[in-house]
Amino acid sequence: MLSEQVRAKTDHELKKYPPDRKQSAVMAALRFVQDEKGWISTEDMADVASYLCMPQISVYEVATFYNMYNLKPMGRHTLTVCTNLSCQLVGATETLNYIKSKLDIEVGEVTADGKFGLLEGECQNVCDEAPLFMINNKKTCGNLTKEKIDQILAELDKE
């Protein structure tokens, strides 16, 4: 069963589409689930499917197609480090390695306390700020240095 907030937000999305095209809201609904839980379980996908009156496998197709949907539990703060060309040129690999050693996890893993998760991601279209990562796919932090990373992680740790 989807939570009340997810349903409310999805209902808002549904207003944008004709009543017989409910499945148009599938990407938004999955996003709301992920915002709430940090990831999307298959049970959640089944719930989204029944809420939008669409086949379960069709939700699964969408959720597995887009790599910004997390299909396994991630941390409360999931950092997605861009490793595309522009970031690579200014040290994305070092940035990623630094975060790995700092959090003591590999890409795709979550810290033992569940606070941080680490992912590799694609270009965010702000190459002038490279190297960069996104926090929970919402907030971009660019021009990363070791000091800046330490500072951001410390702040997130307090939250």
């Binding site: 379960q56 496998i57 699964y60």
Partner: protein, 785 residues
């Protein structure tokens, strides 16, 4: 029309026609995998790339519409280079395990790789591996690494089957075809995905590793199950049916088959097959020679005729029997002097007998279903009873057809339903009367005297009004009655009302028909009336007033009859029961003689489908053991009993005696004469029973098809009730309840189903767990077990 040139040949095609379709009409073959004439265009395999003049790059022929003056080259250097390139990519991840692949020899990839593949691979890296899936007992998805992601199976589910059960998850190199989680593919049309799969990714589970395609001989046959009359290609090895495939017939089954038609062959090779004649002596069954068994039957029948009178003999046959069998059975029975013969075993209302102007039929051609724009479906478990006709209705809804449904259960038909009225079985005629009234008002028509009374007594509900509006707005209307309506205790009332509704709309009117020979049975005169004269007893009366002898043709009394309780009582009380059957079954308890007859694959015969199409077929294998075609057995019995006119040399002679010189279409009619509709009385005290015959319980062969019996459609039926009714009885969903009708009862798990009307219990018929119960309609008691 558009003029286009392909490989130097000119053709005129209609607007929107694709290049691949135009080429096909010219007899030019363009290699392809994902394209299928019955499915939407995906253009994802890229195998059909062709060169088109003025186009800078090769274009996919399936997704390129023909344009005026277009010049296409399908085998130019550019086209072939592109096709070979695509083939190289397709083979990169393909395991090339043809020697152990079931598809080997009938594989589109294998065939095209011969023409377009390289002799050696340039690819030395690791191939991708896709893990096997378990998607149910019929379709094997054991080697998904072979999949080339053409998505034909996915599109089939969405577009033809009506349910999206398979999908393509993940993307790019990781894309794989799968069902959601551990779901199975439960469509009643799932087997078609095996045919559609161009590689060996989806194969037939029952057929797996049992034969190679080139070892099989291919023989034409006709499906003995539902009333569609699907054309079959029966594949045989060593005198054994190994597999059944569709034989394409655009007017009937197109290129599809329902799973029932496709996988029921397993029942032909069942261990329960009866292979020797048997006689019960002193309570023990003895295997005997045919001569002994037949003499026993002939003497028994003669004795009963002499002592009690021929009218104490009753003959019952299933509507899955061939036309020849039904004809000879009635000829034999009438030859003995009895008119008690019937094949309408699940029917309960025979008041229309002698008032029909012909054999009830579909009222239209099957292929015309696709062109109907307004349907009124009355009392039909359409998807399960007629899977491929349901698919045709579904195709019609895609073109905007509206489906109006009057029924006592609300099973998902996997298509949009414009209006539906789900009511008690006893209220169905009232709903039809309401629709008729609303329609008459809208059309300002005066109704026939036979329906005036009932129409005056009703006020159309909003839904009935909506249905009438829907029907009135259509150009091609069809009013179709399903099995439930035919089995209904007020079947003739429903028929009459439906007839008048159709007449007001200027539409077609007909019956889906329960089984392969539901029309043929009438043509064979296997009914106890002739024209306007009722001569003998119908299937129900024969059990009501017990006969001394019964001849059962393919009948399993506890499963095939409207009232199994009554049927078993009548069989138990009879002096002689002759069971002509392909199987050893419950008749072992009540029969006196067992005559092993052959199923449809081991005899020649004819089925007349619901559209009135007589289709004859030949035997595909030799009879098993000492089993013999029933028409031959009946012929010998006829001769032994000195009944004239039993000197047939072959089954064709029997058929010709019936059909040659008769105008078959003129014998089909759904019009009733001299029946008048009465206001619904038939109030049933307490809960009413609503029965469906589960899809894989409908006849003797399917009941023994092991793989079909493992599907979700074949799970032991539950009793279903509205949750309000459950509360009234203080029952919980999932509890075991005792259902009682007459002096028999059944114990079933009960499940809440709020799509059912209040006041009914839905209990499947035709199943062993409910064989102790009474009639398929009427009152039923429910209590905690």
């Amino acid at each position: 029309m558009i003029n286009i040139e392909i490989d130097g040949k000119h053709i005129n095609v209609e607007n929107g026609c694709s290049v691949i379709e135009a080429a096909h009409r010219l007899g030019i073959d363009i290699p392809h995998f994902c394209y299928h004439k019955k499915l939407s265009i995906a253009a994802n395999c890229r195998m059909c790339l062709v060169q088109i003049e003025k186009a800078p790059k090769p274009l996919p022929a399936c997704a390129t519409p023909a344009a005026e003056g277009m010049k296409v080259f399908t085998a130019s250097e550019q086209a072939v280079k592109a096709q070979k390139g695509v083939m190289e990519f397709l083979l990169i991840n393909h395991p090339l395990d043809c020697p152990i692949c079931d598809q080997g020899g009938e594989c589109e990839l294998q065939d095209l790789a011969v023409g377009y593949g390289g002799s050696a691979s340039r690819y030395n890296e690791k191939k991708r591996v896709v893990l096997q899936k378990d998607i149910g007992p019929l379709v094997a998805a054991e080697e998904m690494s072979r999949c080339i992601n053409c998505t034909r199976c996915v599109r089939f589910g969405i577009e033809i089957g009506g349910a999206t059960e398979l999908g393509q998850a993940f993307r790019g190199e990781h894309a794989e075809i799968m069902a959601f989680m551990s779901e199975t593919v439960d469509s009643e049309l799932s087997g078609n995905m095996i045919d559609l799969c161009p590689v060996g990714a989806l194969t037939s589970k029952p057929f797996r590793y049992s034969a190679r395609t080139w070892e099989l001989s291919r023989r034409k046959s006709i499906s003995p199950h539902d009333s569609l009359g699907s054309n079959l290609a029966v594949q045989v090895k060593n005198n054994r049916v190994m597999r059944v495939l569709p034989l394409e017939n655009e007017e009937i089954n197109e290129c599809w088959l329902s799973d029932k038609d496709r996988f029921s062959y397993e029942g032909l090779n069942s261990a329960e097959r009866l292979t020797k004649p048997m006689i019960k002596q002193g309570g023990k069954w003895l295997e005997v020679e045919w001569q002994v068994a037949l003499e026993y039957v002939a003497n028994g029948l003669r004795q009963i005729t002499q002592e009690a009178g021929a009218e104490y003999i009753g003959a019952l046959a299933t509507p899955n029997s061939t036309l020849e069998e039904l004809y000879l059975l009635q000829k034999l029975t009438r030859g003995l002097g009895s008119h008690n013969v019937d094949f309408r075993l699940r029917q309960s209302d025979f008041s229309a007998d002698s008032k029909q102007s012909g054999a009830p039929w579909l009222g239209m051609a099957v292929a015309d279903i696709n062109h109907v724009d307004r349907f009124l479906l009355v009392g039909s478990f359409l998807r399960k009873d007629h899977p491929l006709m349901a698919s045709r209705v579904r195709q019609a809804t895609k073109d905007g057809a509206q489906v109006n449904l009057v029924h006592a259960a609300d099973d998902d038909l996997l298509m949009p339903i414009a209006n539906k009225e789900i009511v008690l079985p006893t209220e169905m005629s009232t709903v039809l009367a309401q629709v008729l009234k609303a329609l008459a008002t809208a059309k300002q028509a005066t109704l026939d005297i036979s329906v005036q009374q009932i129409v005056q007594s009703v006020t159309p509900s909003a839904t009935a009004q909506a249905m009438a509006d829907s029907l009135a707005s259509g150009e091609h209307v069809a009013v179709l009655l399903g099995n439930f309506a035919q089995q209904h205790p007020q079947a003739s009332q429903l028929q009459l009302l439906a007839q008048h509704i159709a007449a007001l709309c200027g539409g077609k009117f007909g019956f889906f028909g329960e089984a392969a020979n539901s029309v043929g049975g009438y043509l064979a005169q296997a009914v106890p009336f002739s024209g306007a004269e009722v001569q003998g007893m119908n299937a129900s009366a024969m059990l009501d007033e017990q006969r001394k002898a019964y001849i059962l043709l393919n009948v399993e009394a506890e499963l095939d009859m409207q009232n199994p309780q009554q049927a078993l009582a009548a069989m138990g009380a009879a002096d002689m029961v002759v069971a002509m059957s392909a199987y050893k079954h419950h008749a072992i308890k009540y029969a006196d003689v067992y005559l092993p007859i052959t199923p449809f694959t081991e005899t020649s015969g004819t089925f007349v489908s619901s559209e009135g199409r007589a289709q004859s077929f030949k035997g595909t294998v030799q009879p098993l053991g000492e089993a013999r075609p029933a028409w031959k057995v009946l012929r010998v019995l006829g001769n032994m009993l000195d009944i004239p006119g039993f000197d047939y040399n072959n089954s064709e002679a029997v058929r010709d005696e019936m059909l040659v010189g008769t105008d078959l279409p003129a014998k089909l009619s759904n019009i009733l004469h001299g029946v008048s509709a009465q206001a619904a009385s038939g109030d049933v005290a307490g809960l009413q029973r609503v029965s469906d015959v589960p899809i894989y319980s409908s006849d003797a062969i399917v009941r023994r098809a092991t793989s079909l019996q493992k599907t979700r459609d074949a799970v032991t039926p539950c009793a279903l009730m509205h949750s309000v009714e459950l509360q009234k009885l203080n029952l919980q969903s999932g509890e075991t309840v005792k259902l009682t009708q007459g002096n028999g009862s059944a114990r079933l798990s009960i499940t809440a189903d709020n799509s059912l009307p209040h006041g009914v219990v839905r209990v499947a018929a035709g199943h062993v767990v409910t064989a102790e119960l009474g009639a398929m309609f009427g009152s039923i008691m429910v209590e905690r077990a």
